[in-house]
Symmetry: C2
Subunit: 351 residues, 2 copies
């Protein structure tokens, strides 16, 4: 396929779409070289797509899972109208287990299950309406976070972002990139450093591309150069998304976020975490209890089909790390902002 | 070629050899997938090989340049016996400009030029003897630094190293890896984390391979996971090489070293810089005056012939960064150790 399939500007990109009774995902493994959409008509296939990172980004995973519940319910209803609620459980368990760290996946499934009891007859219309609502509310939340976060940034700032927390990672517009988009429009941000985000290159492949499409000045840089960028440039903020925020304000996000946050602390750069309230998990006391996904080491040792490292090398590939609340200056959600987060302040907004 | 061309253990690997009147370089761009030696009979070709990173690592670059001066002198002598000292100058200037950050290149050329005046007749025998002496002294220095550095490490330590400061980066045995080799042999080190070192993957391709060959336990990890590794493991030391050390103890080394040193400071991990005294540049007051090479951005945007990033993206690719002396616990040289380096202590040892 070609670019005709993408809407511009990039802030309106949609990685997740419901189309003709199926879920359509933009294959993020191929971006930006190939614009390729894949269609899904079963929840198990969506679970595999989440695991394989066809779709990634905590909010986008949640939305894809919501639509997958619609697919699961359709199949269950077709198989046994009376017992679709029982039939669907195995699919939902597989979906929920697709990736462990992003809590939005569990949140979205729980939102979908809330309406199960009220459904009479074919569940698909009601569940689809619920999924579309989750999707639309995510986009609205991103715009609201964009507004709130951008207000914290002074004119002509330079900022750093890590991984991709953009339109592609969400229902649209983005969390961290939502703030950056809004702040660029109002003149608060003049330049963005995008760290490439090994091993999956979300910064190089996705964030740089989104910002380039929207004509927001962006400099791509390897992850380990971020400390040097902070030392040699006036950087106002490190702005990132999150996959799960604990009750004390500890933040799980893409591996490297913690490294960047430590550098930010050392250089007096402020740290802004932007995430919808669905990312906040008040059942988890602190970051040490957040499950961290360890992915296959071939993501580190190989580039596509080319081996980089020697054979049989030991490698570790944690997909996320924990940035402690003490390194976070603000958490921006659509419900409001938490400055210098701690359990008390988190409870006040999310309790 | 195959592995028969490499001597084992890896501590005896030689990336630079004088063989049958030519300079032979192990092509480090192809490692560890291909063991390929390239022969050079002209100084300009060696300068190109240094620029293109056929040979890399500050001490190895210096040694290669010393042998290149032999080649340059041979050509100049063949062209005009009486004026070889003048004829050689253009080649030497090209050699010296091949890479700007590593001072060992300039040091080695200066060492070679010191004997020019004393030469009568054909310069090749005397210059070759001098180059071999530089090479052998580098290996001896590495063993001495290995001994000195290993004494600082308590039993069963885990350490982190960045880039490759091993046999491949030097005349043999290595600087940072020399310390690690000696400390592993005497039981001080039980495990090494090797950060992959984007964009050129020296950690993945070279360091992991050297350590694996010598059966030293190694875990390969992406650069941005190092802060997380420090948080989640008991790490005693970050051990790195250097391309130039200023008079105040500021250290230029592979991009990412500064990032790791900031993380080390935050986590209470000690930082050891291991480099021969030829790396110390007492003419440079502090790190801000060390020239930092910016390499082509295709090293960041592409992997071999595969484009990673979108077309026409702005990228920056500094090959080195500066770790300030205040983040360095010890500088280990063959002349001795400088603890908590500053100008006064550096002058005492290198003045």
């Amino acid at each position: 396929m070609n670019d005709d399939n993408l809407e511009f500007p990039a802030e309106t990109f949609s990685a997740v779409k419901w189309n003709a009774g199926m879920l359509t995902l933009l294959d993020q493994r191929k971006l930006p070289r190939e614009i390729n959409y894949l269609d899904y008509d079963s929840a198990l296939a969506v679970a595999a797509a989440i695991k394989d990172m066809v779709v990634r980004g905590a909010p986008a995973i949640g939305i894809a899972a919501a639509y997958a519940v619609v697919l699961a319910a359709r199949t269950a209803w077709q198989e046994a109208e009376e017992s679709w609620r029982e039939k669907i459980e195995a699919d939902i368990e597989t979906l929920a287990a697709a990736r462990p760290t992003a809590v939005n996946l569990h949140w979205a499934i729980a939102e979908m299950k809330k309406v199960f009891d009220s459904i009479e007859g074919d569940p698909e219309p009601v569940l689809l309406e619920t999924a579309i609502c989750i999707h639309e509310e995510d986009i609205a939340a991103n715009h609201e976070m964009g507004r709130l976060g951008a207000e914290l940034i002074v004119a002509n700032s330079q900022v750093i972002t890590h991984c991709n927390a953009g339109a592609l990672a969400t229902g649209g517009y983005g969390t961290a990139l939502g703030v950056i988009r809004t702040a660029f429009k109002n003149g608060s941000i003049k330049n963005v450093f995008s760290s490439e985000t090994r091993p999956w290159f979300q910064g190089a492949r996705l964030t740089s591309w989104e910002l380039q499409q929207d004509q927001i000045p962006v400099n791509l840089v390897i992850d380990s150069a971020i400390a040097s960028v902070m030392e040699n440039n006036k950087i106002a903020w490190l702005i990132v998304g999150s996959d799960r925020i604990a009750a004390n304000g500890d933040v799980a996000n893409k591996i490297g976020t913690y490294s960047h946050a430590v550098s930010a602390y050392y250089h007096g750069v402020k740290v802004m975490v932007v995430a919808p309230s669905s990312t906040v998990d008040m059942d988890i006391e602190s970051g040490v209890d957040i499950p961290i996904e360890n992915r296959g080491t071939e993501e580190v040792t190989d580039f596509k089909s080319t081996r980089i490292a020697p054979n049989d090398i030991e490698a570790i590939n944690p997909a996320f790390d924990i940035t402690p609340a003490k390194l976070v200056d603000v958490i921006v959600t659509e419900k409001g902002i938490v400055h210098n987060p701690d359990t008390e302040k988190m409870l006040a907004l999310f309790g």
